[in-house]
């Protein structure tokens, strides 16, 4: 949707490299498609009471123009993963190992050439990382009010981000900002530009925050529970908006949520996390049709499904998520698991294995005595 009030030469440029690349949701899976690779990421928090391994060997990939859903309950490490990618983890937290590889075509690489940058190796406060943060990777958060400064207008906060990342004049930044506010479908963008955050509703604030995240045309948008604080109708608006903008801008989305419904509607691929680890990873259709990990299965059967017309008791997962300082031995889920195999699950820590093409599971049920992976649970002869 080109802005009508600007002459053609003045229109904001829209991520030319990505746009010409034509990476839609249907693009074939080239290695070229890779945008972000998280490899064996470990982020620990060193507290006086011990070490919390908030993210403990997490690996996943995000492809250009696609959406990866990160699903998990509180304390599973999904937000810390996002903060680690953005290098926003503060002491006592520290990235202890692993890599976050960003495949970038921007500054630092020859035009159109792919360069791979390990974000964990950069100085978190350095120039390069600051260019990535808010430039190539944008972020929207759960509670927009926390990330908007109440004493500055929405417009001045957006233009600040634009001037920081693009070398443009104040007037030009204002034009880009108003155009962005229009594209997130805020009514009367000129007026919103002059408003203070408290003068906007929750949904409008979230739109303004999305506008801010998108004004530098990031190739990756990290969305950390952006609709959790909103009403269902507003949530539906924001989800539809994000899908439209993704199509328009061709950006990839890393969507973090605990809501299974939202994942089903937003994600192409999903990783399910439990206590700092990825326990299952597959495409969204398979996840809901054929979940393999007992934790994923339990999650799916513990939510009331709209239209089910059933008043039967919900199958709740017994117990609570264990204390992260005191992670159970063996499989971390074993003490809440319906398929718990004594002597095995509490002794041996399962590795994540591919059980079917593109379907990875961290569970001993799918592994035989010789350590081979199987697509269906294996009956093992245990004592």
């Amino acid at each position: 949707m080109p802005p009508t009030h600007l002459p053609a030469s003045e229109r904001p440029t829209l991520m030319p490299l990505i746009a010409t690349n034509g990476t839609g949701p249907d693009a074939a899976e080239h290695s070229d498609d890779l945008l972000l690779e998280v490899k064996d990421l470990k982020t620990y928090f060193h507290l006086s009471r011990g070490v919390v391994k908030a993210v403990d060997g997490v690996s996943f990939e995000v492809r250009r123009g696609r959406t990866l859903g990160v699903l998990g309950e509180s304390g599973c490490g999904k937000s810390v993963s996002a903060y680690s990618i953005m290098r926003l983890v503060r002491p006592p937290g520290r990235i202890e190992g692993g890599q976050v590889l960003l495949h970038t075509r921007r500054n630092g690489s020859a035009k159109g050439e792919l360069a791979v940058v390990d974000l964990t190796a950069l100085d978190a406060h350095g120039k390069r990382m600051r260019a990535v943060r808010g430039g190539e990777i944008g972020m929207v958060f759960q509670e927009p009010m926390t990330f908007l400064n109440p004493v500055y207008t929405v417009g001045s906060q957006i233009t600040e981000a634009i001037i920081l990342h693009q070398h443009v004049t104040n007037d030009r930044a204002r034009e880009i900002a108003i155009e962005m506010l229009r594209r997130v479908r805020l009514p009367d963008p000129q007026r919103v530009f002059e408003r203070y955050p408290h003068q906007l509703s929750g949904g409008q604030r979230q739109r303004a925050l999305i506008a801010m995240a998108l004004c530098c045309h990031p190739s990756l948008l990290i969305a950390d529970e952006p609709t959790t604080a909103l009403d269902v109708t507003t949530q539906a608006q924001i989800l539809a908006l994000m899908r439209d903008l993704q199509r328009e801008f061709g950006m990839a989305i890393l969507y973090i949520t605990h809501n299974l419904g939202v994942v089903a509607h937003m994600a192409d691929e999903v990783v399910v996390m439990y206590l700092g680890q990825v326990v299952e990873r597959t495409d969204v259709g398979t996840l809901f049709r054929d979940p393999k990990h007992p934790y994923t299965q339990a999650l799916l059967s513990s939510i009331p499904k709209l239209g089910a017309r059933s008043r039967a008791r919900l199958q709740s997962i017994p117990g609570v998520v264990p204390d992260p300082l005191n992670v159970p031995a063996g499989c971390r889920f074993h003490n809440r698991c319906a398929s718990f195999m004594p002597g095995l699950c509490d002794a041996q820590e399962p590795a994540i294995r591919q059980v079917e093409s593109g379907h990875l599971v961290r569970c001993l049920l799918y592994e035989d005595e010789d350590g081979r992976a199987h697509p269906e649970p294996v009956r093992r002869s245990t004592s």
Partner: protein, 342 residues
């Protein structure tokens, strides 16, 4: 939940034309220049042993309605009649202090925020035991025994009673709030069902607990909620609110299966379902909820309604009977065939 058909049950709570207006003042003399009609003529009843879900978006007045019923805030006008076991029907709005105190023993509030509603400087024994100390004059061993039993009922270990709230997770705090609400064995619990703030696995545990308590104590619930999948699971009947007014009421099955107000349809369809196949089927409402200080003319929903006609902009539809046990406030309730959830 019980097998008695809903229509033959007696009401335990009747709300008639409840209104709560807040004045908008301006200037040094605080002249009233307008009114925010937070709750504007709401009528419904809660039957014995049933669960009524009051749903709507934030700002629709559902929480204010709940607070007016307990007279946590004073309603502007209307009647709230509680059918007390010993005293018969009591008008809560005009009750004197002694009567109100009696009614509130039988009608308890369950708070929505498990973090803000527990005093961090009180132990569980004090928090859960307080209603017993104040109303039953319980002390010492009796009190500890009663609190231990309550904690056991809600699935907490009695040994925890000397701990402070900070030692508990969100789900456990919800349980503490529930234990306090059922301490005096009330007949009706008015609660904000904010279980959606909880993790999925914990949410299921709490919903199951609420159902168990209802079966065990014959409780009635009035739940103020916004998560429709939870309402469908727990409520026998549902009332939908929009900008201070009820727009549709009915049994959960009728209302979810066959909504008769376009707002209900939109509300149902905007819930993202845990099924990737339903992607893109939702109705996305344009615009936002109008301010109750400055509502639109005619039907309040008409600026966002995909079916709005000329008449909707001028004439306000009354909440009228549109079937057995079914009311809707739409001019075209019978003509429209709206999509529910099957």
């Amino acid at each position: 939940m019980s097998s008695t058909p809903a229509l033959t049950r007696k009401p335990i709570l009747e709300v008639r034309d409840l209104k709560k207006y807040y004045p908008i003042t301006r200037g040094l003399l605080r002249r009233t220049i307008g009114q925010v009609k937070a709750v504007d003529g709401v009528s419904f009843e809660v039957l014995e042993g049933e669960t009524l879900g009051l749903v709507g978006e934030s700002g629709c007045g559902k929480t204010t309605t709940g607070n007016c019923i307990l007279r946590g805030i004073e309603p502007t006008s209307g009647e709230v009649i509680f059918h007390d076991a010993s005293r018969g029907p009591v008008d809560v709005v005009n009750a004197d202090a002694a009567t109100l105190r009696h009614v509130r023993l039988n009608m308890q509030k369950m708070f929505q925020d498990p973090y803000g509603s527990l005093n961090p400087r009180m132990t569980l024994l004090q928090i859960v035991g307080e209603p017993l100390v104040v109303n039953r004059n319980m002390r010492g061993r009796d009190l500890e025994a009663s609190v231990a039993e309550l904690l056991r009922v809600v699935g907490l270990r009695p040994e925890y009673m000397h701990r402070f709230p900070h030692a508990f997770s969100g789900g456990q705090r919800q349980r503490i709030g529930i234990a306090r609400a059922v301490a005096l064995e009330p007949r009706l619990i008015v609660g904000d069902a904010r279980v959606s703030a909880l993790d999925v696995s914990i949410q299921a545990q709490i919903l199951n607990l609420l159902q168990d308590l209802q079966a065990e104590f014959g409780l009635s619930y009035l739940f103020v909620a916004h998560d429709l999948s939870i309402v469908e699971h727990i409520a026998d009947r549902v009332a939908v609110m929009y900008v201070g007014k009820l727009v549709e009421t009915g049994t959960t099955e009728d209302l979810f299966g066959n909504p008769m107000h376009p707002y209900t349809e939109a509300l149902l369809s905007s819930v993202p379902r845990p099924d990737p196949e339903t992607k893109g089927e939702e109705i996305v409402l344009a615009g936002e909820v109008p301010s109750p200080a400055n509502p639109p003319t005619g039907c309040y929903f008409h600026p966002r309604c995909p079916y709005a006609q000329e008449i909707c902009t001028t004439e306000e539809p009354p909440l009228r009977d549109v079937g057995p046990g079914r009311r809707a406030a739409c001019h075209f309730a019978e003509q429209l065939s709206l999509r529910g959830v099957a």
